[in-house]
């Protein structure tokens, strides 16, 4: 019996169809074998694909969201991966809401241009919540293997601080050292003092004689 579940957020709707995997001991309500999935994103074409594509979508979008929580967006997915996620850098620095994230989908069919979709924060958050619902629903057991969320190491966090700000303290230190050294070089060396005049030749003294 074919099962179909829908997960919805404001700008995003995910529908998955499948069958229970009776050999794995799933109940009649559980999707264990995925037959099709369809993702409707407001203002974008509908996406569909196979199980591997859904796995790739989860593997790109969820770690990207993990980095966004730490405010260090970073491209996810290799150039050969079917789904990639990357931040869109803007020359106009500002806090206005704008499409700041790009999802790139490589088609498995040859001679097809990659599809690029841009999202603002709200649309991406909708997509992430939809995928979270899918991931945590006990009625869907597709056995996706996703890397656990880990704390970011220091070198990844450092990217949050702009390069100029990061280089300022060592540059100031080097400048201070150079100035001190230059000043030190300008201080004249002490002149060698004139050799003291030769003291008069010592004259032997008469031995002390005890007073009589």
């Amino acid at each position: 019996m074919k099962l179909s579940y829908r997960f919805e957020q404001t700008s995003c709707r995910l529908r998955i169809d499948g069958l229970p995997d009776l050999s794995a001991g799933h109940g009649p309500e559980v999707i264990g074998i995925l037959s099709a999935w369809e993702l409707d994103l407001a203002g974008h074409p509908t996406l569909e694909g196979k199980r591997d594509h859904l796995q790739a979508l989860l593997a790109a979008v969820l770690p990207y969201a993990r980095h966004l929580v730490s405010s260090v967006p970073r491209p996810m997915g290799l150039a050969t991966d079917p789904v990639q996620m990357e931040p869109i850098s803007s020359t106009r620095a500002g806090l206005r809401n704008r499409p700041a994230h790009r999802l790139r989908l490589l088609s498995s069919q040859p001679d097809t241009q990659p599809l690029e979709l841009s999202f603002d924060d709200a649309e991406l958050a909708d997509l992430v919540r939809c995928l979270d619902q899918l991931r945590l629903d006990p009625r869907v057991q597709l056995g996706f293997s996703l890397p656990p969320d880990r704390p970011l190491p220091r070198r990844e966090i450092l990217e949050r601080v702009p390069l100029r700000q990061r280089l300022a303290p060592p540059a100031a230190g080097l400048a201070a050292l150079a100035i001190t050294a230059a000043l030190g070089l300008m201080v004249p060396l002490p002149r060698p003092t004139a050799t003291p005049a030769a003291s008069p030749a010592a004259t032997p003294t008469s031995p002390l004689t005890p007073p009589r």
Partner: protein
């Protein structure tokens, strides 16, 4: 010799009774600071946030940990930026409860977070919403945090503050709901920059 025979069993017994805490699983002071700032942002979004948190804690089954506002406030005072700051670290159970509470509150407020972050809303309306949020958060920060701390001054700074406040709202939006717990917890345990 006598010393060894007496102390060795005691040490073993102590180890058996309380296993050494995993230092990696605990939140650092910086993590506690961000966690409390996000809870403060929730209060800025929801005027009745303080009461809602206690109610939500009961709903989530943390009634014994946070039976009232005072107990919740005491845990939040481990934030080093607080005026009435407490020393020490929170246990993992307590921080997990606070993070779950934060995720549940963010889930409840998600429509508001979404409006703040959406580019499809009219720009003047978005600006007004941000203005309202900023003024409420600034008020709460002035009331509860220590203005002499650099972190607080940054948050209130007209240049730097809006960027930090946006990061807080973003983190709340991407960490909302049950699925956001692991993301938010891992993020709070990030290494210090």
């Amino acid at each position: 010799m006598a010393d060894v025979t007496i102390t060795a069993p005691n040490v073993e017994a102590a180890v058996e009774q309380s296993p050494p805490p995993r230092p990696s699983a605990r939140l650092s002071r910086r993590g506690l600071e961000r966690l409390d700032l996000m809870l403060l942002s929730v209060e800025a979004l929801d005027l009745n946030g303080g009461e809602a948190m206690v109610w939500m804690a009961n709903q989530l089954g943390f009634g014994s940990l946070f039976p009232n506002r005072v107990e919740l406030w005491k845990r939040r005072c481990y934030n080093p930026l607080r005026l009435a700051c407490r020393r020490g670290v929170l246990s993992e159970a307590e921080t997990d409860a606070l993070i779950s509470l934060l995720c549940a509150m963010a889930d409840r407020l998600y429509p508001m977070l979404r409006q703040l972050l959406s580019a499809s809303e009219p720009e003047p309306v978005t600006q007004q919403r941000w203005q309202l949020f900023r003024s409420r958060l600034d008020e709460l920060v002035r009331e509860r945090l220590n203005p002499r701390r650099g972190g607080v001054q940054k948050l209130l700074d007209p240049q730097e503050g809006p960027r930090l406040q946006r990061q807080l709202v973003q983190a709340l939006a991407f960490g909302s709901g049950r699925g956001g717990f692991d993301r938010l917890k891992a993020s709070l345990m990030d290494a210090a920059a």
